[in-house]
């Protein structure tokens, strides 16, 4: 059963990275079919050190350092998942999922359907998203819209350590392929995570902050941008509600629509490219479900439609910030 950090009453705080590590360790202890495969996942524990210590507990047979072959390891994951294992494939940077696309899109996503329900692919593919790490155009993209487009895949975009742990455990137990995006800028972010077992179902959004004048629907890194913007807007007497979708597939349409029906205004904020992106999909959900309740057009704020530049003065302009979100909110609220 899902519990919230508040309900558990636990004061313990751990980082987003530690939460991921704990989820993997707990699931690997619980289920011998779970294993990790990826580049530099064992002794190195990934460049972000998220997997540190796992190889010591579970050995190199279950925490497998692979060649630099993203398509190959995704394919191996699909084959292992089809035949009774529960692989967690580690793709170091979200930009590299482009190399896994055939295995994800044409194989993993379709095998259950194409086989008339006979075969299944219980695989998790963990990867990262997020800019502003000064890593330039091939290590900074947020490509979760690509996989959210494909029927057969589920897509998680957690924003807090608590959600990351609960969602990852659910993803590993899910019988479908799940692509799990972690904001690499968030690995050091701390938050309350109770000791012991809990899971969060895929497909249930979370209202991270209650408000009455405007709804910010946000994903992953942008949840924090939305929360900071909401705090700042108090000074302008604007009460902003923040809905964290937590998974783009399945998408919890009802929570989004209910919030906008209450507030009558909405901004959708996501770190993927704005054009044809997650923001467009969610904006259309709002237009469809809350049209007659709207007092202003639904606004979308995504990453600028340019390759992510290296120079900090350029890069910082490409993603929504608390300031840009607050400014947009004021415009929508006529303040």
């Amino acid at each position: 059963m899902a519990v919230t950090a508040k309900q558990s009453g636990a004061a313990r705080e751990i980082t987003f990275g530690q939460a991921i590590n704990e989820a993997l360790a707990e699931e690997m202890r619980r289920d011998p079919r779970v294993f990790i495969i990826g580049e530099d996942v064992a002794e190195a524990g990934t460049p972000f050190k998220v997997l540190s210590g796992l190889v010591k507990e579970f050995g190199p047979e279950r925490v497998i350092d692979s060649p630099i072959s993203e398509a190959g390891i995704a394919g191996v994951g699909v084959g292992a998942a089809m035949t009774g294992m529960r692989p967690v494939v580690d793709i170091m940077f979200g930009d590299f999922i482009t190399l896994t696309m055939d295995q994800l899109v044409n194989q993993a996503a379709k095998i259950h359907y194409m086989s008339g329900g006979k075969l299944k692919v219980p695989m998790v593919l963990r990867t990262t998203l997020g800019a502003t790490r000064r890593s330039a155009a091939q290590h900074s993209q947020s490509l979760h819209a690509w996989v959210s487009h494909i029927p057969g895949l589920k897509v998680a975009v957690p924003a807090t350590p608590y959600d990351a742990k609960g969602l990852l455990k659910s993803a590993i137990r899910d019988d479908n392929p799940v692509v799990f995006f972690e904001d690499k800028m968030m690995y050091q972010l701390k938050g309350p995570v109770p000791e012991g077992e809990y899971t969060i179902p895929l497909g249930v959004a979370d209202v991270k902050r209650a408000g009455s004048d405007i709804t910010f629907v946000a994903t992953s890194s942008m949840v924090h941008v939305a929360l900071v913007a909401a705090e700042a807007l108090q000074q302008s007497h604007i009460s902003a509600e923040v809905v964290d979708v937590r998974t783009t597939v399945p998408l919890d349409r009802q929570t989004i629509i209910d919030s906008v029906k209450k507030t009558s205004r909405a901004i959708v904020i996501d770190e993927g490219y704005e054009r044809y992106g997650v923001t467009a999909e969610i904006a259309s959900v709002i237009a469809d479900g809350a049209f007659y309740y709207l007092d202003a057009p639904v606004k979308r704020m995504g990453a600028m439609d340019v390759p992510v530049p290296f120079s900090p003065v350029l890069e910082d302009q490409t993603v929504p910030t608390p300031e840009s979100v607050a400014a947009m909110a004021k415009t929508l609220c006529n303040k």
Binding site: F35, V78, A80, T83, G84, I111, H112, G116, G117, L119
Partner: protein, 336 residues
């Protein structure tokens, strides 16, 4: 003395089983041949939606290899996969039903010719992406190793897949981790409509050599030689000796797919006739069965008659079978 007698008796039993075995091979190969000829008829008479890629001419490869496998061993197959499915044990009626998009098909009509999968016979699926199953085969082999079974995975692919990077990524990992996967390269000479020599640099088997994978190149039309080679490689993989690579030199008697009729621009009629007349794997086995006195013309005729009747019955079943209910379109997108 007693000991010698026993051995002789054993040898006699073995020999009878051995004789029966080659007749079984013949039945399997002929079943694929007649199945594919029927598929072509279904296309020509506009009873089959879409297209199909016929396996005619390559029957010795599927049968020679799959007869070296256990039922619980895995195969991954290709867009030209009917032969692999049947050789691994698929039933004719469910095969035809799938090709006709019927609910009784292996995939409830959702997969069609290029996606037949059957977990009961270890068939992880035909695959319409050239080389697309190389990772799946390695993953299945890795899974078998991790689960501590002695299952083997066979990865069937054509000469066209030699152009795909995924194959080499997978071969590298299979060799590195000694995975029980046997790569069967069915070189039918043509990447769709282009001779493989125009697309493939170097020698085919040198690719396996580069990864330290034992490899062999053999006549893909002689099922007995091919089976002996496959048996050896499969058993090596099962023992834990790691992957192997077998190039089977064969020939696609028909076009790339059933609609590829005018082929003169990429290969000559003379070449086709030569392969059909002199290198037909079904005929080669029939000739050997006759010269070895394991079968005569009348027995072979009887076998053909029996299989033709099975095919007729199966295709009629499929033609009469109902289509899926319209609401099934949304089923099986996700595991519930």
């Amino acid at each position: 003395m007693r000991r010698a007698k026993k051995t002789k008796a054993q040898a006699a039993t073995r020999s009878a089983a051995h004789d029966e075995r080659w007749l079984h091979f013949y039945r399997q190969m002929l079943k694929i041949r007649l199945f594919e000829e029927e598929v072509n008829q279904l296309y020509l008479s506009a009873k089959m939606p879409g297209l199909a890629h016929l396996y005619i001419g390559q029957e010795a490869v599927a049968v020679g290899v799959c007869e070296a496998l256990r039922r619980d061993d895995y195969i991954t197959s290709t867009h030209r996969g009917h032969g692999h499915c049947l050789a691994k044990g698929a039933a004719l009626d469910k095969m035809f039903a799938e090709l006709l998009g019927k609910a009784a098909g292996y995939c409830r009509g959702k997969g069609g010719s290029m996606h037949i999968a059957d977990q009961d016979t270890g068939n992880l699926g035909a695959n319409a992406i050239v080389g697309g199953s190389a990772g799946i085969a390695a993953g299945a082999a890795m899974s078998a190793k991790m689960r501590g079974t002695d299952q083997v995975a066979v990865c069937f692919f054509g000469d066209g897949a030699l152009g795909q990077g995924l194959l080499y990524e997978s071969m590298n990992m299979a060799s590195l981790w000694k995975l029980p996967v046997v790569y069967i390269c069915e070189n039918n000479q043509y990447n769709e409509y282009t001779h493989f020599r125009e697309t493939t640099a170097g020698e085919v088997t040198s690719r396996a050599r580069a990864f330290g994978i034992p490899n062999e190149s053999i006549d893909g039309q002689d099922v007995r030689t091919l089976h002996a080679a496959a048996l050896k490689l499969v058993e090596q993989a099962r023992r834990g000796d790691g992957p192997a690579f077998l190039q089977c030199n064969t020939y696609r008697f028909h076009g790339h797919h059933v609609g590829d009729i005018d082929r003169a621009y990429y290969r000559s009629k003379k070449d086709e006739e030569e392969w059909k007349n002199r290198r037909d794997p079904v005929k080669l086995l029939a000739d050997w069965l006759k010269t070895s006195r394991l079968a005569d013309e009348s027995l072979l005729g009887r076998i053909e008659h029996e299989i033709a009747a099975e095919i007729k019955q199966a295709v009629n079943f499929a033609l009469d079978a109902p289509y899926p209910e319209p609401h099934e379109v949304k089923q099986h997108v996700y595991v519930e």
